[in-house]
Amino acid sequence: MTTTTSTPTKPGIPEIVTNSAAPRPSGWLSWLTSTDHKRIGIMYIVASWVFLVLGGVEALLIRLQLAVPDNTLLSPQTYNALFTMHGTTMVFLFLMPMIAGFANYLVPLMIGARDMAFPKLNALSLWLFIAGGIVFYGSLLYTPAECGWTCYAPLSETAFSPSNGVDSWIFLVHLTGVASFIGALNIFVTITNMRAPGMSWGRVPLFVWTMLTQAILLIISIPVIAGAVTLLLTDRHFGTHFYDPTNGGSALLWQHLFWFFGHPEVYILVLPGFGVISEVLPVFSRKPIFGYKAIVAATLGIAVIGTLVWAHHMFTVPLPFFLLVFFMLGTYLVAIPTGVKIFNWIFTMWRGSIEFPVAMLYSIGFLATFLLGGITGIFLATFPVDWQLHDTYFVVAHFHYTIVGGAVFAMMAGLYYWFPKMTGRMLNEKLGKVSFVLTLGGFWITFLIQHSAGLSGMPRRVYEYADVNNLGTYNMISTIGSFILALGVLLTIINVVQSLRSGAKSGPDPWRGNTLEWFTPSPPPVNNFDVVPRVRSVEPMQDIRRQIERQGRVGEEAGVAAGD
């Protein structure tokens, strides 16, 4: 249907063209059966936001229960089920699929490809993820799991968790795991094989670099968690004893396997966010990214070291001393490339000409928030200090600062930045700014004080607490903040729904972007590009704009000369 030929006729940039493209199909069936990376991407994002609402409601229920000491609003069973569902939902059903959605939509566009390498596998990934979500939320009809998103054995064994909620959790990990694994292979193959002519590794957009790295991390870590939950499944139903210490199994085996996946998972969530920030900051500072190669190197460095530090989640279990030291120093090492990135981002803005649309505001909010999450990470990496902080609200605060500050704020920046490309309409900037202030403010009110709750002796995952050491005050502040945060997110959802219908038309390139997705119309046609330009730098759109300007000038001069 599409044919590609080389047309070196004009002296300009165009390289590969398509002569005909199928018309855009419509109707709901065309969405369900679509293998178009853009439609799959949008379905990923929409589904993930449905789960965000569910996970958000769970979070608000948790905060309501904790608002006052000795509260009896929820039963311990309901409370344990809620934080299990909240954590699992936010990791497996909101953030991972939302990132997969953005990656699906953007990676082919940014590298000048007409689709992903394996479009049908791509659709399979999406539907497996949705199946995983349905299987997990189906447990609401009987007894949801109560073992936390980490589901430590032997608590998750049948002896202590007899309900099938844990099984539905296991199937969720399997289904979304397979979805992520296939998706990662697809992204990897697409990026390594389908880049536009001229896009050598030194010219690949930074978002694409982070997605490539993330894909490798997924390929390394997903099989381990899949194996771990399979062993749990056979323990629960087929008479094995992998995690059962009364029959020669080991409770620590689960923790090692889980965190071998669980720690890279953190980078699986935040690296794409780093990529978004690295795209948004240069555009609105009107300046190239500062230290492109250093940022790429830091991304790869974080991935390599990040795979080798999992046991810093286990400093309080019986471990030999040298392992404590190894995992402490290893974790310190991760801080170096992360710190490098923060300075690179700030110096990208330095001596720029900075504009402040909502996407940029979220990027700046990301910098300050993620910075604090990184610093508290050093506290926790120091194992004697971790002995006090481990499994307290200090840790809860820390990982919300890294995951919400690192991944969610960055993806919000991405939403405001790429929404015009996906829909052809702008989001309302004014409403977006109100949403940003509420989201960022609400977040800091909710989580900053949780550090203090942890320092005052409050462990995580408790459904009630006594009113000692000001815990009542701290938790009330946190609960108030969480509702402000929720209002902020709600405003963004309202913004999206309104703007879909009545947002200003955006045109192909509303921000004067740097990368190839801004070369096509908004929303892009099915085949993405009629002409794939040759890439000559890491900012191909700058080159194209210059080229057009030059040709325009030449044309004008020629016209003036010929006409009069």
Partner: protein, 413 residues
Amino acid sequence: MSPSNLFRPTRNSVLFGLVLIAALLVPASSSFADLIAPQSGGGSPNAEGIRSLYLWIFGLGCIVFFGVVGLLIWTILKFRSSKGAVAVRVHGNNRLEVGWTVGAALLLVLIAVVTFLKLDQIKNPPNSSANGLATPKNVAFANGPAKPSLPPNGRSLNIDVNGQQYLWRYTYADTDTNNLNNVFSYEQMVVPTNTTVSLSIRALDVQHSWWIPELGGKFDAVPGYTNYTWFKISEPGVYKGQCAELCGRGHATMIASVKAVSPAEFKSWYAGQKTAILAAEKEAAAARNKLVAKDAAALKLAPKAEAPAAAAPVAAADGKKIFVAGVPATGALACGSCHTLGAAGTKAAVGPNLDVVLKGQSAAMIKASTLYPNKVISKGYAANIMPANYGTSLTKAQLDALVQYIDEAVNGK
């Protein structure tokens, strides 16, 4: 102010924010003692050490955080777009980038050095003070990868901490071989001041975590492993904590407390507990005998349990029977359910492999080890696991038959 300017950061708003932060930090010093640092207060050196290490990192972290956020805010204010402003097209600066990489590394080296300097105080228990409780030398054993924490002279009050859904049980180590008559308590642990208390932390069912914030860090109670920590309290008082690892629906109510009293008070509490336990044991034994007698009378049978076994001549072959099946009537557990012995065909691994550890040992030694299992402990195994009741649960003839059997099985005729 027009809407477009509303969210543009201004110098005033930044100043206001800084004043607000400062205002929030002022009350932190007095009434909100745990606002910025972990708890301590019992005078236990490990908790003090962790708190001071934390404050070091906190100070450095504040410098980095406020430095970088200051730079960020300065950049945003100074380089916000304005008429005629042109961005400078810079792609990087190698010297600068190497500079902050090295800077970050040096900062982390500093933190690592401080950590190692503080580590001794946090990790290694000191000896008990002269005004503390005089305690016997502990038998050090390790079950799992962690090492016991004992003071240099090896003397501490050793308490076995056992987590179970949803309470803590504390068993005080003593010097006799019977581990069924030890002093124990639930939920509240009573300890003497100025005495090093070493804890062996275990779990009965799922994972729990031992944590009394004012007495140092938390240590997980993992089923199948033993974990270790210690504390040494100088201030009498009650120190509260709770389980810190999700262990089920009652996790939030699994509380723990440590009550520190003077050594004299501790001694009297301990003696009281011991007397009560011995009395209760006596009472229970009397009640048991009464029940047995009642049953026997009801069935019109002569009491069988003691007499016939003692009277009957015991053949050597019975040694194997005792080894494999024990003597259930008197509570003598089967050796083979815990030990491997090739000749008897048992393969259990709870205790040491007898074919290995008893090779070349005399019959007297085998007998002593059966009667007093805690006298000699094989490497890698724990004391107080094997029952020490064989002196009472076996008759002399049965014991001799058993010892003779094991001797022949391991060392030949």
